[in-house]
Symmetry: C2
Subunit: 462 residues, 2 copies
């Protein structure tokens, strides 16, 4: 950190918010998975958009690149330094306005935690459309920059669908402010939704204007036994035309249910064991149970079904799906992939997974693949257990990852459905994006950040 | 049209689809309002993405700019030539695939008419989220390029929220194909949603992948008398927290109701006359009437209300809102503005309209302003009658337009909520977009169309 740059940064945010001591910077330099880590030249903690603008101008002047960090809950290394960058931590931008009741919207600083936003919405009789497990740490800015999804995408969409405005600072310090919250505004390119999923490479989001959604307190949950993925899909297609309140459609398999039963001590969901299960949730203001029961009654795909009659029963059914993650983690460090393929091709993709993974783990007798996911989006989490930790495990993990992602490419799918590209997936980007698309993205990056100041190496290769 | 360019165009699409005779090109050279008109150097009618690519390459080689046209139903002159351009008419790209039941999605050529798309969706037990009056002419490509909204935005959003993929040809003929229909795909910038609302200036959309929505055949419609815009807003805010099936919230006023009553011979909706009315519609699979009645019962804003008990009654109530357009047109050519302001400021905006418009029409005793709109989006259609057609009417019309748009700018609103900027509104773009935003848009335009080949003068000034 040059004296000159340091003075400029201190001028912007004050001495105490320019961190250089490793005991202070450490937690900003490693992601929470522990997999990505690098030394920052310093960590700066602005408290306003104007400070962000001053900081970016100073870094641009000195040609020192910047890494943008929210709650540091990312999974692909997009928010931590490689070496020498200024880390811009936005958690002090935590101003959360009152809900605007007239529009059903709220404005939040980039550093506001998702759980705080949810609490604010709920206190106003509304709710926020995105929810995910990292809600107590993840920040609104990071959620938007990574276009976070989570468990309600089927009903409300991802962050891109929630955002109505933002304040953004470009690499040269230019501030774009668009916070009026106009749901219909056809005056040119929508720079705000372009920021969604840009992973900090186009601009620094400092504030966001978000739409809120109705509270839907009445739930009906069914766990439905089916023959296979194709039957689950056919069942979901049927429900789409007969039920208007669908809020989740989660696919799990016998292997996953066996794992969560042994790990969490759950009872068998049915007397018989079935190959696959679809967990369906409906949410509404009035009780949607009767409508769901009626709809399921007409579906030939249903081998057996159990429908929760109350909140406790609903939670019990959800545990078959939700304890997958902890059961998988409890069995050692897994190889984790977050991919999607066109929904109609999902059955074939899942059928071909074992043959794709097999060659990479031939000499690992305990290797075990657990698959589960969000059926409506064709989004599957592929977890391979028992490989990392064995001798040569890291190489095998990379071979597994490569084999699965190549298969995804072959199916016209995405190598990253939810988590983003970050630094972890850049080498595979070409499997999901054509050279023409990558060229167009690079042109847009150059248009808004010609010097490549923001998050270099994230999303697009350096 | 040079011989060389003509040969290249003919090579791409065949002799009969390169139109040069004025009797053939005429209908492509004037928009349907009759307000925008210009001579094209020719009109070409490609039938495939590959042909579009060849045509664009040929035009780029010869530096002849291109104007892209769908169903020619735009209102701001964005799809007709100024003089000398090649008009690219996409109506032959009318291939409409079967609905993909597994994903609830469909792929359509850019030239598919909205009504054809809706019919296809409905035959599959689903529906399309966007609907508007020009449905028999407007094309899917044009709807996406202009981010069309219409009467269901409250429930399903605009075109940007319906699109999951597109095939796009850039100015140099490069084809970007992204039609897998992955609702969750976090591999970089979303070029598809960037195209929504770009008005043909960034690329030519040739095919789109669209999500479908559930059919909601059961409707409940209420016409509610309220004191003013502020009460209507407060009522809507209340309904947002108590009703999950809202599908329309349309604001009309006593002046508009008087006009439609005299024009269409409608009966008085209530024994008494009230200053303002909110038309609320709920849509669901099961009858939402009871829930709406119950919700309205608790609202102090309700001065009187009539709730339709059946489909005929619902249509009758909708006529108070829907006949506004024909009643306005029947009284002569109106000055029409399509603007939005932040919802919370709408009452103040509407209060200030008369004083803003007044000075421009002081010597037009018959001038009459009719306002109505989509309350949830703060989107108001301002119609000034009795001015165009009087002596000096065109100048007065421009003065009215300028006064209203300046007031919109003052309120942080948008000069074009639905219709787009086109050629009609470019001079006022700076009222809704800051210089920094316009610079960012220009940079993106240059990144994807460096030579300015596509729709020059549309959206951004030349």
């Amino acid at each position: 950190l040059s004296t000159e740059l340091r003075s400029a940064l201190v001028r912007a945010v004050g001495e105490e918010h320019v961190l250089v001591d490793p005991s202070l910077t450490g937690s900003y330099e490693t992601d929470w998975t522990g997999r990505f880590s690098g030394r920052a030249c310093c960590v700066v903690r602005p408290a306003s958009t104007d400070q962000v603008s001053q900081l970016l101008r100073a870094c641009a002047d000195k040609h020192v690149p910047v890494v943008v960090q929210g709650g540091n809950t990312g999974l692909v290394g997009g928010g931590v330094p490689v070496g020498g960058e200024v880390v811009l931590s936005l958690t002090r931008l935590a101003d959360l306005e009152d809900v605007d009741q007239a529009s059903g919207q709220v404005t939040a600083g980039a550093g506001v935690r998702l759980s705080a936003l949810q609490a604010q919405a709920r206190a106003a009789g509304l709710d926020f459309g995105v929810d995910l497990a990292a809600r107590d740490s993840a920040t609104v800015g990071g959620l938007l920059a990574t276009n976070a999804g989570g468990i309600r995408v089927l009903r409300f969409g991802s962050m891109r669908e929630q955002v109505l405005g933002a304040e953004v600072v470009l690499a040269d310090g230019t501030v774009l402010t668009r916070l009026s919250g106009l749901p219909k505004d056809n005056t040119g390119y929508d720079l705000v939704t372009l920021l969604a999923g840009s992973e900090g490479t186009l601009g620094v989001i400092t504030r966001v204007r978000l739409k809120l959604v109705p509270q839907l307190p009445a739930r009906a949950v069914a766990l439905v036994a089916v023959e296979n993925t194709a039957s689950a899909l056919s069942l979901l297609a049927r429900l789409r035309t007969t039920v208007a309140t669908l809020s989740a459609a989660e696919l799990i398999f016998a292997s996953g249910v066996a794992l969560v039963r042994e790990s969490a001590g759950l009872a068998a969901p049915f007397q018989e064991e079935y190959p696959a299960y679809l967990l369906v949730e409906c949410a509404d203001r009035a009780d949607p149970t009767d409508a769901l029961v009626e709809a399921l009654g007409d579906c030939p795909e249903v081998l057996d079904a159990t429908i929760a009659g109350d909140a406790a029963g609903a939670r019990a059914l959800w545990r078959y799906r939700e304890t997958h993650t902890e059961a998988i983690n409890a069995s050692g460090v897994p190889i984790k992939l977050d991919v999607a393929v066109p929904v109609a091709r999902l059955p074939e993709f899942i059928d071909r997974l074992p043959a794709a993974i097999g060659p990479a783990v031939t000499d690992v007798p305990d290797a075990r693949t657990i698959v589960f996911g969000h059926l409506n989006e064709g989004n599957i989490h592929v977890n391979v257990l028992g490989v990392i930790g064995t001798s040569g495990g890291e190489d095998r993990a990379e071979a597994v990852e490569d084999a699965v992602l190549r298969l995804v490419g072959e199916f016209g799918g995405t190598i990253s459905s939810e988590h983003g590209v970050g630094r972890a997936k850049t080498r595979w980007l070409g499997l999901s994006r054509t050279p023409a698309e990558i060229a167009a993205m690079t042109a847009i990056k150059r248009a808004l950040d010609p010097e490549g100041q923001l998050n270099p190496g994230v999303l697009l290769s350096r």
